[in-house]
Subunit: 429 residues, 2 copies
Amino acid sequence: MGGNIMLPWIMIRKRKLREGGGSLATPPPCSYQVSKLVVQKFGAVTMSGELESLEQVLQGHIPGQEIKEVWRILYGKEPGILDLPDVAVNAASQGQFELKGFILEAATEQLRRPRIVRVGLIQNKIQTATTEPVVEQIYALHKRIATMVEAASTCGVNIVCFQEAWTMPFAFCTREKLPWTEFAESAENGITTKFCQELARKYNMVIISPILERDESHGDVLWNTAVVISNTGAVLGKSRKNHIPRIGDFNESSYYMEGNTGHKVFQTAFGKIAVNICYGRHHPLNWFMYSMNGAEIIFNPSATVGELSESLWPIEARNAAIANHCFTCAINRVGTEHFENEFTSGDGKKAHHDFGHFYGSSYVSAPDGSRTPGLSRVNDGLLVVELDLNLCRQTSDKWNFKMTGRYEMYAEELARVTKADFQPDIVRE
Amino acid sequence: MGGNIMLPWIMIRKRKLREGGGSLATPPPCSYQVSKLVVQKFGAVTMSGELESLEQVLQGHIPGQEIKEVWRILYGKEPGILDLPDVAVNAASQGQFELKGFILEAATEQLRRPRIVRVGLIQNKIQTATTEPVVEQIYALHKRIATMVEAASTCGVNIVCFQEAWTMPFAFCTREKLPWTEFAESAENGITTKFCQELARKYNMVIISPILERDESHGDVLWNTAVVISNTGAVLGKSRKNHIPRIGDFNESSYYMEGNTGHKVFQTAFGKIAVNICYGRHHPLNWFMYSMNGAEIIFNPSATVGELSESLWPIEARNAAIANHCFTCAINRVGTEHFENEFTSGDGKKAHHDFGHFYGSSYVSAPDGSRTPGLSRVNDGLLVVELDLNLCRQTSDKWNFKMTGRYEMYAEELARVTKADFQPDIVRE
């Protein structure tokens, strides 16, 4: 699949990577300091009409002592600031993307050394008009991501995750098949996987690459799939989206079905990770099963728009981190995507050409309930967060949610719920 | 049990209720209007050093257009303001408790009329020193609650819920048995249940009364139990706390065990309700099973303190409302309770005499992700919220979380998890 378009692009890309990448084989040492909470900001505001950042508003208006309390109540323990190297700051400035760095710390233990991992969350706009040839659209996104991953490598990122269906516009709102299904690729050897394998080897980085997958080996069907690529460059495996929305313009069930890869966890050189794609974040049992399979970090690559979900966005991934004693990384696409053919949205409104505003705001939550500020609501961005994975077990030993979970009781109750003759337990006078 | 203390108190109480209650048999009509969000505030600030209200800080500092966006992102769709009658406002002023009223609306349907219910959430301090005789402590709390429930009735409240273990200080931090276990009562015919039955009949109100229960019929053991009393005055049933904490000063597992009443839902005249007590809010499966049994409103009477949980408080009950397409009512105790004998907290700090600050902040979440502002962090309060229960099914039909829940898959996975030979599904290179 994709043989026709692979060659020219791979060649161009290889040349580009050779030109820019040589000096970064060894990332510069990144010193850091835990300091007063300051939201770092790089890159200009590129749109008006949308609030750029919730946290900027809070910090811009609420004075000293009160902001500390507001922050504590809203966001938990204040994260440290990760001092990022100049080369990354300059790359962000030049590349016009936001760059933020935070630290989520754990206590010191006697028997385990800190297990420090840096995760990178990338949110980005599509790079060309949706009317451009498919190959050009993919090419432009690969190019954009190559730049941002290079910056991530200079920040010492170990695991990077891109947004849902990152190689394409989120065109499922249109219900059209062509050209959108042409963006689908093999998870094992499509051009995007090969591209990511090269980045992974080059930067010694685990890469989570959520794509539209075409499974030629099983009837040529489509899936919404995250490909997990080891820092060695090997394809470690794939995790398919478990829950498919049928809401608003998320007509995804016309394109692909509920995933059949279960709740796999991937043992990487930097910790055990899992991928809960987009709509799966609304399902607490989905997060739970990834956690029970051992995930220390659950990534949630997403694509979601303002009016529908923005007030849910800060709640769900964070609740999952709390409930499951793990880290969660919520990544949302950013910007507004325009489509040539008008479409309706089942909401009584006139036909239109866009899905609404993808509000970005990617963030990381810790098991202790603390979270980082989000990336911008309007700009491309790279969020680098240094985690100490020891915090997972420390929080579990403190709060004991799994010890007190009574899963035998719920296994029985859940089995009853799924029976056709299930009768709710309702007490009447 | 309790025979010695029942008589004098019942007599005093009956006299008091006769004196004050006659004119309120028919609550005055409550007109309301959906207006610009204004946080209503009654009653003075009674403590310094603690932030009184998160929402007051936000609204006090962030200007017009920005606060609307901040509110939308943080709190979802703006609730309407419920106009409360003067008699209630005066009672709150005189009784020195905060009174707030909001409306969470649903769309109009063709085949169902709006199913309007008013819930009342009451948070309060203990009313006497913890060294006072047990009977005096209970008496003072009954008296306080009688005043607040009377105010609730003038606001047209149909279902009222009190905080966890409302008839006593939250003394489990001490690990002492006497006198604290003397606060335990029969759920079916203890003095507190009789008190609540009288209120229920008088005001035509469903009352959720979370108490320390002593079960004489089963070996005289203790439970943490919510008694649900119908608006007819009948004891509809009881719901025991399903998950018991072992964290910080919540030494509750020394006093009572995990509940054995399952996930009962109570069909009342005002909708189907359930009670998820305190620590159960950390367990998504607990909320889920109440919802699968049909609960439209899940009450979460709690007792929790600042440093430990305050950043989790706005997340968990709200996530449960979203994930389960129902309303949730989170109620926390307020104030700081002092105990005569010093105790330690397993945190390396010196012995001390209090549990920390119970931060109140009771609030209601709607299935669409919107929520009301919270009550004060420092004062007693009554939060009256008018709900249209039709919003539950409307949100379910829109978001489809139960339709897309794949419960058969999870029932199988959960059953596997509970087996001794369960092996996590981990992919290695």
